[in-house]
Each structure stands twice: as structure tokens, then as C-alpha cells.
Amino acid sequence: MKRTHTTKTSALLRSTRAARSTGRLGARVASALATSAFAAGVLAALATPGCKKDTPSGAGPAGSTTAEAVKAAGNAIRIGVLTDTSGLYADLAGQGSVVAAKMAVEEVGGKVGDVPVEVVFADHQNKADIGSNVARQWMDVDKVDVIVDVPTSSVALAVSELVKQKNKVLLASGPGSSELTGKQCSPNTVHWTYDTYALANGTGKALVKTGGDTWFFLTADYAFGQSLEKDTSAVVTASGGKVLGSVKHPLNASDFSSFLLQAQASKAKIIGLANAGGDTINAIKSASEFGVAKGGQKLAGLLVFISDVHALGLPTAQGLNLTEAFYWDKDDQTRAFSKKFAEKHKGAMPTMVQAGVYASVVHYLKAVKELKSAADGKAVVAKMEEMPTDDTVFGKGTIRKDGRKVHPMYLYEVKTPAESKGPWDYYKLLREIPAAEAFRPLEQSECPLVKK
């Protein structure tokens, strides 16, 4: 494939010199577009894995034969933050997730036993193939022991499968699909922060209860959006509501007016946004422009992050109901963590995904310390499930057999500009959903690990 492209490029160059006609230029530009897009993809895929090491790798501990030594795949425990650093999810995960992982490592003094802990990161560009390539190279060549974050469910599901094959660990914080701990669950994966079931259960249920009993979905057309629509539809129907229809839009769609018009025509009381990040922001913005609220319809952002609210501004975002696992201003502990985080991340408060990266790495390192080895991924996850979790961000919690971390979820409402005291003061608490209710009950699980 690469070869054909090279020949095509030189053919292009030749043909240009031969005839200076504008006639065929359209075709040439088109193939040049394809060539450069292809080249950019190849470059990105080649360049990213393992190249951004932030902790100097060092020579590793000398005493690796002593009883105290902790075993890892390489001479250090390597944490690979696989995330979106350049696309629509870069603000809700991205570099902030790298910062969060490093904070967790700093907290243990950069070492477990006498083995140093390193953080590397890469951009998966929200593409499953690129994400898998990076993950494979990390685990095969760069001796990465654990992959964390991985927003974009389609990428996370692919990486989860790969991590299982290689017997490493995946700590998923960014992705939403409840499939990760459902049918496609894995003994090597912990799904930390939230999932589509919890979102549906929080925002979906609350809205139906307050009279929003007919729904129309705008759904991002990939694993996450579909999973979110499915889970929310189930909650809506179970609570006595009705789903009138849905429209699937491409990931990273810039214009939502057409989809909103279809939603308006449906006359549903609630327009459910089964999307995330930049897509949600654009949809909410267009909705306010097209007078959706004035028409008597209500918008439900099923997954809204604090970074989205920040980008929308309170005048547009006010009144939105949303479900989060973490809010920086919840208590003294979360405030202390968030303040420290903001200092390292240009003043931005952590999203729940970034907080989840921190907490999951903290717990992972505890388990590795206990086991004195990071080599066997399945064993590490088993240990993580066995130990109760306790961190400054999510408090006390547990990890279930299916890999689902459970903690309370919170239903918030976005403040009005008058209620807000300053930047990042955005939410007021409507309801705390106790851990036992927040996530899909184990008895309903389709995960093979649970059934046996």
C-alpha cells in the first residue's frame, strides 16, 4: 500500500511538469489529499508510541534479586496513558489525564518498593486501529505494564481485548460504553469512573420522573453513542416513558442544526444527547440558537463534562442536568486535589475522567506493592478487586468481579450565571445516587466472568 502511494506521488510530480494544465488538477489535488492524509496517519502511528517519556528511564534498580524487589515487565513499572491529545476529547481527558497519572505516581514517591514508576503517553486520535497499534507496541516493545484512560469506547474495547491477550492491565477512565464490563468484560480490565448505564440511570431516570416521558435521541454513531442510547432507552421505557426516535450523527460533526430540526419535528419532550465532548457542546449551542427550549422541549446532555460547561459558558449551559462521578468542589479533599491539579494544568479543574485516572493509578500501585509484582496483569486486577479502594478523590469504594469500580454518582444541575461565584463554580447538587444504585446490578450483568 505504501509503495503504490509513493509511485503515485512521483507520477503526480512528473505529470505536473509535463503539462501545466489546470484541467486535471482536481484529480491531482484529490489524490494529493489522499496521499497526505495517508502519510499523516502513518507518521502519527509510527511516531507516537513510547516516544514521550517524561520520567527519565534510568538504569533500573540494581537489587532486582532481593526479596523486596517488585517485578515489572521492564526495569520500571511503566504506565501508558493512551488518550486523545489533539481531538474533540482532548480537554476532558488528554494532557490532563497525563498530569493526573503523574500526580498519582508522585504520591508514592515515584517508586513502588525500589522500582521506579514511569509515565508515558500517546495520542490515539480516537481511532481504534491507531490505539491498538500503540498499545501493541507499548506492551511488546516498550514494556508498558498498564494502560490507562483510553477515552473513546471503540478504542477502549479494542485495547481491552489486546490487553487481555498480553495479560497486562487496562484502567479505563475515559470510555463510557457499559460493554467494557458487560458482554465484553475482561479479567484484565477495570472500568473506573462512569459508564453509559450509570449516566442513563442518573440523568435519564431523573428526567422521566420530572415529567420528561417522551424522548428523541441525537446519537454519536459509534460504540459509545449506541451504548448510551441503548442504556438510556431501557431506563426511559422501564420508568414508564417512551422513545419516539433517534438520529445517528457522525463523530465530530460540526453542524447539528439539521439533526435538531428532526428532533424538533418529533415533538418529544426530551432531546437526549447521546454524545460527548465537542459534539455535545455544538449540539447544545445550536439548540439554544434554534429555540429548542422555547418550543417546550428540554435538552438532556447524557454525558456532560465540566470542561464542556466551561466551554459553553453558563448563559448557554445553565439549567442542564447532568450526572458526574466527581466534582472538584464537592468537599475539602476534592478541593485540595483539584487545586494541586489546576496548578499543573493551566488553571483548569479536573474532569471526572482525569480524576478517575489519578484514583485508578493510585489503587493500581497499591495492588502492585501488595503483590510485589506487576508482571501478571490478571493477578494485579484480582488484587485490585480484593482490596477495597480508598483515595482522596472518590473516597471508599470497591471493584466488582466484572471489573466495574463502584462509587456514588451525583446528579447535578448547572448554575445560572447569577448563582455562580466565579470561574469553575458551575454545579449544584440535586441528588447523590448511592453506589449500590448507581451502576448496573451484578445479577443483570452479561459478563461471562460473573455468570460462572
Partner: protein
């Protein structure tokens, strides 16, 4: 799937709005290509820059939307002039692909810098007070701002077309493209003409950026999302054809809008399918001059 005619009108109108942006952006590209033979890949980044300049003006100078509509294109146009003078000019005699590579690189740099500084979620930019609200036009609720976008885009496109095709300045420009040496012999400063044309084309991109700022977010990625689509529009219209780019901009906006109703999953690929079809039957594009 049956669609009531009312809904269809609404979708067509929305298609026209998106088409307005396509037309403005592809017009700038077509001018730059037609008159300078430069495939300006930085166009999307300069569109982003236009939106950011508007945002800067509001944030740091307290200047709102209306002044930004003039200032942003001028500032970005000046940046374009500098870019042309310092870099693009040196590639003038080489194959257009070199210009493509240079501008592609410039685009990545600009986009990357904005992203590092402002993150990917973007900054909010409010609709100016005079254009807030929406009008019920019978078959849909049309936001006033969107109506303004269509009107101003059509106006700008018509004026640009008139200037290039019907005025003396336009004839100089077209002559300079055909035979720069001869035009110089008549005492016309061709390099300056070329520089200013590039600046003007880039200014159009910035204008589109300011128009887009209140609708979308002022985000570093806004240009990258658009540029590939806009190139498809230019290729379909015929590289370098002014009228072709305007026509195909609006037409493809409409077609894309209809796709969003009948088969939304394909809405981001339909333009490329059309591009492939057009290239098979008319390699020069719909309005391009055949070799």
C-alpha cells in the same frame, strides 16, 4: 421514510446556511488557486485564526462582533501577506505541490499553537445583540443570525465575483495569471498584485471565521474540520473557477443537508462520493477549464 414538505424546507434552508460557509471558504481557495496557482492548505487554519482574532478583540480590547467583522479579515489578511512575501513567493516557480506541502505545514503549526494555548473545547463567543433571537418563517424557526450568515455570504460572494470577472482590477489580475511578463511590461506591479490577492483570499477565510464564531465555538479544530470538505467543494466546482466554487459551495451544502435527513450516517462522506463521481466524468470539475 416520508418527510413532510415543511421539514424538507427547513432542511434545505439549513443546507443553504452550511453552504454559505462552504462557498465563502471555497471562494477564497479558488481565487488563490486560480490566480496564484497555490493550493492553500492553510485556509482552514486561517479561518480558525479569523475566529480567534474576533475572540481576542472581544476579550482584550472590548471590541464586539461588528468591528471584528472588519478588523479580523484585515489582521489575518496582513498575516497572509507576510506569509506570501516570506515563504510562498519562493515557491512560485515550483510545482503547486510544494505550496501545498508548505501551507499544510503552516496549518499544522497554527492549529497546534492554538490548541496548546486554548485547549480543544474552544471558547464561547456570543451572538451580537442585534441578531439574537429567531423568526418563525412558517415551516421552521430560523435563528436571525443564520439568516444574516446566508445574506452576507451571498453578498460577499457576488461582490467578489463581480470584482474579478467584471472590473478593470479583475482583468489585470486575470491577465497577470495568463502572462505575468507581458502584464509587467505594461507597468503593472505583478508581484504586489499577487501578494494582495493572496491577502484578500485569506481575508475571506478570516471573514468566514468571524461569521462562524457565534455559531460554533472558537476552537482550534474548527478549521481542520472544514478544510477537507471545502477542498472537495473546490475540486467539484473546478479548481480555480470562481463561479464554480460559489455554486458548488451552496449546492453541496444543500445536498449534505438532504443526506442528513435521508441517511444521516453518510452525511460526512457524501461529498467525497460526489467528488469521486465528478472526477470520473469531468476531471476538470463542473466548471473548470478543460486542458
Amino acid at each position: 421514510m416520508s418527510i413532510p414538505p415543511q421539514a424538507l424546507f427547513g432542511q434545505l434552508l439549513i443546507g443553504l446556511i452550511n453552504g454559505s460557509f462552504y462557498a465563502l471558504l471555497s471562494l477564497g481557495l479558488a481565487i488563490i488557486f486560480g490566480l496564484l496557482n497555490v493550493i492553500n492548505f492553510a485556509h482552514g487554519a486561517l479561518y480558525t485564526m479569523g475566529a480567534f482574532v474576533a475572540w481576542f478583540l472581544l476579550q482584550y480590547a472590548g471590541l464586539g462582533y461588528w468591528p471584528a467583522l472588519i478588523i479580523a479579515p484585515v489582521v489575518v489578511g496582513a498575516f497572509g501577506v507576510a506569509l506570501e512575501r516570506t515563504m510562498l513567493k519562493r515557491l512560485a516557480k515550483l510545482d503547486p505541490l510544494y505550496g501545498l506541502l508548505l501551507t499544510f505545514g503552516v496549518a499544522l503549526v497554527i492549529q497546534g499553537l492554538f490548541r496548546i494555548q486554548f485547549g480543544s473545547s474552544g471558547q464561547p463567543y456570543e451572538i451580537p445583540d442585534a441578531l439574537k433571537g429567531a423568526t418563525n418563517v412558517g415551516f421552521m424557526v430560523l435563528p436571525n443570525y443564520r439568516a444574516w450568515v446566508i445574506a452576507s455570504s451571498i453578498a460577499v460572494c457576488s461582490v467578489t465575483w463581480y470584482v474579478i470577472e467584471r472590473t478593470k482590477l479583475g482583468s489585470y489580475l486575470r491577465a497577470a495569471t495568463e502572462n505575468p511578463t507581458l502584464v509587467r511590461a505594461f507597468g503593472i506591479n505583478v508581484p504586489r498584485l499577487v501578494t494582495l490577492t493572496y491577502g484578500a483570499g485569506v481575508g475571506l477565510a478570516a471573514l468566514a471565521g468571524v461569521l462562524a464564531a457565534p455559531i460554533y465555538r472558537v476552537s482550534p479544530l474548527m478549521g481542520a474540520d472544514q478544510i477537507i470538505v471545502v477542498f472537495a467543494v473546490v475540486v467539484i466546482g473546478g479548481m480555480g473557477s470562481i463561479f464554480g466554487s460559489i455554486f458548488s459551495g451552496f449546492a453541496l451544502g444543500l445536498i449534505e443537508g438532504l443526506t442528513k435527513v435521508f441517511y444521516p450516517e453518510a452525511s460526512d462522506t457524501i461529498l467525497f462520493v460526489l467528488m469521486a463521481i465528478v472526477l470520473v466524468f469531468k476531471p476538470a470539475g463542473l466548471f473548470g477549464r478543460a486542458a
